[in-house]
């Protein structure tokens, strides 16, 4: 990791800490989402386990989706101003700039994750994971956050305005819904089940939940990691190409 990327990560974190609107959303959203799912919908959904235990991975991914919108907006905002030209004239490349945004995004998301876990524990979340299970779950979650943060960075380079970049959150945040994140897929219409069980979010949810509950998950974790690696790789390639085009 280059020192420049770390300096720029610090910058992004400072900037997002002072973006009061985004900060309030970032804190309120995980709390509200968790409470809404557990207390509003949870009672009606039969998952075979305590609903809070079932739903935590889904809420984590929802938060990551919303969090990535901030990343896309931050990238677009940078492009709008003169700071990217300044960085480039100092020989700081796109890699360091975008890595800074992605790492800051990861840090923000991990903060939201801690918040979700803390609240979940307070309202009855009782996972049965071993230390290794926790470790693996965290690893998959970070892989997912990195993947959609890079995706968000690429979107931020495509978008013409921060608002347009923010619209991206709709799509990414929506993805966990048609998946096993909130309800078992066998309650969905059959035409949807195929998508719900195989879209990129599904293996992430399934393996997170399995690992947290201490269940055997077979090779699902590898499928999840493969999706994350694929999304990240494609996004990085797109971002690199877009960065040189947008800044020429």
């Amino acid at each position: 990791m280059s020192a420049d990327a770390l300096t720029l990560t610090g910058r992004s974190i400072r900037l997002s800490r002072r973006n009061i609107d985004a900060l309030i959303t970032a804190i309120a959203l995980p709390v509200i989402l968790l409470l809404v799912f557990v207390y509003f919908f949870g009672g009606a959904i039969n998952t075979g386990t305590e609903y809070v235990t079932y739903v935590v991975p889904g809420v984590l991914l929802l938060c990551a989706g919303f969090g990535s919108a901030n990343t896309a907006m931050a990238v677009t905002e940078d492009l709008k101003g003169g700071i990217i030209d300044r960085f480039r004239s100092m020989d700081i490349g796109g890699t360091a700039i975008l890595t800074g945004h992605v790492l800051a995004s990861t840090a923000r998301n991990l903060a939201a994750t801690s918040l979700v876990f803390a609240l979940a524990f307070a309202i009855g979340f009782r996972p049965g994971a071993s230390a290794a299970g926790w470790f693996a779950a965290l690893g998959i979650l970070i892989a997912y956050i990195l993947a959609i943060s890079w995706l968000a960075a690429a979107v931020g380079l495509i978008a013409k305005s921060p608002e347009a970049a923010g619209g991206f959150s709709f799509f990414v945040s929506f993805l966990p819904y048609p998946s096993p994140a909130f309800v078992p897929t066998d309650t969905m219409p059959s035409w949807l089940q195929g998508f719900a069980e195989h879209q990129p979010v599904a293996p992430v949810i399934t393996s997170l939940r399995g690992l947290l509950l201490g269940e055997s998950i077979g090779h699902t974790a590898w499928v999840a990691l493969a999706w994350c690696a694929g999304i990240a790789t494609v996004s990085i390639l797109i971002a690199a190409a877009l960065f040189s085009r947008r800044t020429d």
């Binding site: 020192a3 420049d4 300096t7 720029l8 610090g10 910058r11 400072r14 900037l15 002072r18 973006n19 709008k80 101003g81 003169g82 700071i83 030209d85 300044r86 960085f87 480039r88 004239s89 100092m90 020989d91 700081i92 800044t247 020429d248």
Partner: protein
């Protein structure tokens, strides 16, 4: 051995877009800037100033031509050029949601200063640019002038040999503009080469050792403010005309237009013979010109004479914008 120029460019060309939409922004620009001097690229919006700066600062590549900055080729030795330069663009390149000190510390870190030396550097620059009192305030609370000063301070963290300033005072009030001018002059005194673009003739006149006048992608004139003024005409004859019809009829001859007062400025060498001949030629019946006055030419006149379109400009707004 002759001193190597800080900036040397030959035949720079750049076209944006392609096919019918192609816009040729630079059409063969040559530049030579000796080290330690201030060079101004003067031109209206769309003349190609920013593109020229971006090419010299390695941010974009020219379609044709070569350029060396601080002795390094902008195409093949980008990194070496970037180590030697700094760029302050038209849009402030500082973060509003960081304090002045944080912005400078960050830039210093990116310019490869250690943590301690970055703090030191930030402190000194804030002092030098009279921003110490606002060091720990968010830039969002700064005035336009303070922001530009911080921006300029940020461009100095790496001790550049060559500084590019793209329209450094656009949008500033007159006081902030004068403050910035004194900073730029100070830089030049310390031996830094400054390459700036501007739409303001006064700015070029006040700051630059040499001025290049850029118009639709071509350098139409180059020299000191003094020599530019003398290339066109030493003097300007201002005619106050009888009515609007006379004004419109004579407007193609003029380099200075003030439609509100029906005044046109015509270039002349200032001799009685030439002024008399001009009056006879423009106003043979002796009815069109009410009064006249003679002025020493300003850079405005030079600029308009060099870049003004041959067609009359009945648009008072446009004329006013050029004349200031």
């Amino acid at each position: 051995m002759p001193e190597q120029p800080a900036i040397a460019a030959t035949g720079l060309r750049k076209t944006y877009g392609s096919g019918a939409r192609a816009v040729e922004v630079l059409r063969g620009v040559d530049l030579t800037v000796p080290p330690g001097t201030v060079h101004a690229l003067l031109g209206p919006n769309g003349a190609g100033k920013t593109t020229a700066v971006r090419i010299l600062a390695t941010l974009t590549t020219a379609d044709a031509g070569t350029a060396q900055v601080a002795g390094h080729d902008v195409r093949t030795e980008r990194t070496a050029v970037r180590r030697a330069i700094s760029l302050t663009g038209q849009f402030a390149a500082v973060d509003e949601r960081q304090t002045g000190a944080e912005n400078l510390r960050m830039m210093a870190r990116l310019a490869r200063h250690s943590r301690a030396s970055a703090r030191d550097r930030a402190h000194h620059l804030l002092e030098r640019f009279e921003l110490s009192h606002a060091a720990d305030r968010l830039v969002a609370t700064y005035s336009g002038g303070m922001r530009r000063r911080l921006d300029l301070a940020a461009s100095l963290v790496g001790d550049p040999d060559v500084i590019f300033l793209d329209e450094p005072t656009t949008g500033l009030d007159p006081r902030s503009r004068r403050e910035l001018w004194s900073v730029v002059r100070e830089l030049a005194v310390q031996g830094t080469t400054v390459f700036l673009t501007t739409q303001y003739l006064e700015e070029a006149d006040r700051l630059a050792d040499r001025i290049g006048v850029l118009h639709t992608g071509r350098l139409v004139a180059e020299g000191t403010a003094q020599s530019l003024k003398s290339t066109v005409a030493d003097h300007r004859l201002d005619l106050v005309l009888h009515d609007r019809a006379d004004y419109l009829r004579l407007t193609p001859h003029a380099v200075h237009h003030a439609p509100d007062t029906l005044t046109l400025g015509i270039p002349t060498d200032g001799t009685a013979r030439h002024v008399r001949a001009l009056l006879d030629e423009l106003d043979p019946d002796g009815t069109a010109v009410e009064r006249f006055s003679l002025h020493t030419a300003t850079l405005d006149d030079v600029f308009l004479a060099l870049t003004g379109t041959p067609t009359p400009r009945p648009e008072p707004k446009e004329a006013a914008a050029h004349v200031r």
